[in-house]
């Protein structure tokens, strides 16, 4: 009975990709390049520790602290580094761009999938999709409509194509009706998409 169970757990339900990836990991481990426990840890970090909650903390602080907001706009890598005890270490070349009533910022990588992973985690599938990569630089208002976002026609749209190692983080506009809110309360309004520029922060009524 035990043998029967063992046979099945050996792989009858594994996809071809699962098998090929396992084989490569086995080769790398047997040759002494990697320890699988270290790979487990990387996966765990991206699943639980490195995600858009980091960016939300950064934005909430920028909304609350004018000095930090200015520091963020001047040098985002430096400014976010001062929050490292809370949000972990970030790399270089991070640039924050601020939405205003006049200008809405949106970030894309038309050539591959460059994304500010230090503050937003791994990119969602749509960010890497051919539809987003092809259309964001040409018809961003139509792309925003796919996300249910409609901006006034007089609002300028500024699209940042991440074609080098610089990484862009959008600072969305603080919603009305949040006067006196703590940074923790504000962070709950800040969605991943609002920091890419394909969404807007939640309204206070959506989290009440």
């Amino acid at each position: 009975m035990a043998e029967h169970d063992h046979d099945h757990s050996g792989g009858s339900n594994l996809s071809e990709m699962e098998l090929r990836v396992r084989a490569l990991e086995t080769i790398l481990a047997e040759k002494g390049y990697i320890e699988s426990a270290a790979l487990d840890r990387i996966v765990e970090l991206y699943e639980t520790k490195i995600g858009p909650h980091i960016g939300a903390q950064v934005i909430a602080k920028a909304w609350s602290d004018p000095g930090f907001r200015q520091a963020l706009l001047d040098d985002a890598s430096q400014a976010v580094a001062t929050l490292a005890p809370q949000v972990g270490n970030v790399g270089e070349h991070l640039i924050a761009v601020e939405n205003t009533p006049e200008v809405h910022n949106m970030v894309v990588c038309t050539l591959c999938s460059c994304y500010p992973t230090d503050v937003l985690g791994l990119p969602p599938t749509w960010y890497k999709s051919f539809a987003y990569r092809s259309r964001a630089v040409k018809e961003p208002r139509a792309v925003l409509a796919d996300f249910g976002v409609a901006l006034p026609v007089e609002t300028e749209i500024r699209v940042w194509d991440s074609t080098a190692e610089t990484r862009y983080l959008v600072v969305p506009m603080r919603p009305a009706g949040t006067e006196g809110w703590s940074e923790v309360q504000l962070a709950a309004l800040i969605t991943r998409d609002s920091m890419i520029g394909t969404g807007l922060p939640k309204k206070p009524s959506e989290v009440a």
């Binding site: 996966v43 991206y46 070349h93 999709s129 539809a131």
Partner: protein, 219 residues
């Protein structure tokens, strides 16, 4: 290279379809591929630019139909074999058949994780004074290298404005063709949409790229 990866402005890919509550990885193997990609970086067998170029070099049929992490997997496996870290017969066997050659360090362990989950630095000392400054009008060159470049097709031969300078960075076009890091000044260059897409384009749209100095000329 003028490949299918250079997608800015193409039509026909349909709507953008966000997935509600999307998991970080859709399959367990995707996480293993991501982790292997990060881990193998410590052996410095190739750079981030080479890893991008390796995906661009895949046949268009594979590029267009393979999933994101399938391409990452193929890229990793191809480069590992090409750089001699593993051998093709080992891939076929699914096991190591001989010890690693020229192992320059011990295995990637838990102690190495932090250094690969934080992005590195691509800045380098500038080899020469900057040719451009914020506010300069520039034209991107009409170039079509058959090797790796980060100047997208839609922004070639277009007039824009230098918005900011990022100092000198590793030049992807050189490092992927064995010519070393060859640091070059990097600028944000902003274009009006009508310069890129013609008179019918959204008059309230501006698009910027990150342009290395060799891509630019004075207007």
């Amino acid at each position: 290279m003028d490949g299918v990866h250079d997608m800015g402005g193409m039509d026909g890919f349909g709507k953008v379809e966000p997935e509600a509550n999307e998991p970080v990885f859709h399959h367990r193997w995707e996480g293993r591929v991501l982790a292997m990609s990060r881990a193998i970086g410590v052996f410095r067998a190739w750079t981030i630019d080479t890893s991008r170029y390796a995906i661009e070099l895949m046949a268009p049929s594979i590029y267009l139909t393979g999933s994101y992490y399938e391409k990452w997997f193929l890229r990793n496996q191809n480069l590992l074999v090409e750089r001699g870290l593993i051998d093709a017969d080992e891939v076929a066997a699914g096991h190591a058949l001989r010890p690693a050659k020229n192992l320059t360090r011990g295995p990637f362990t838990l102690a190495d994780v932090e250094k690969v989950t934080k992005r590195g630095s691509y800045s380098r000392p500038a080899p020469a004074p900057a040719r451009f400054k914020a506010g300069d009008r520039v034209r991107t060159k009409n170039i079509h290298p058959t090797t790796h470049t980060r100047l997208p097709r839609y922004a070639r031969g277009r007039v824009g404005v230098v918005e900011r300078s990022h100092g000198a960075h590793i030049f992807p076009d050189s490092v992927t063709t064995g010519k070393g890091e060859d640091p070059q000044w990097l600028y944000t260059v902003r274009f009006d949409a009508q310069e890129l897409w013609g008179a019918e384009a959204d008059p309230k749209l501006k698009v910027s790229i990150e342009a290395f100095e060799p891509y630019l000329e004075h207007v």
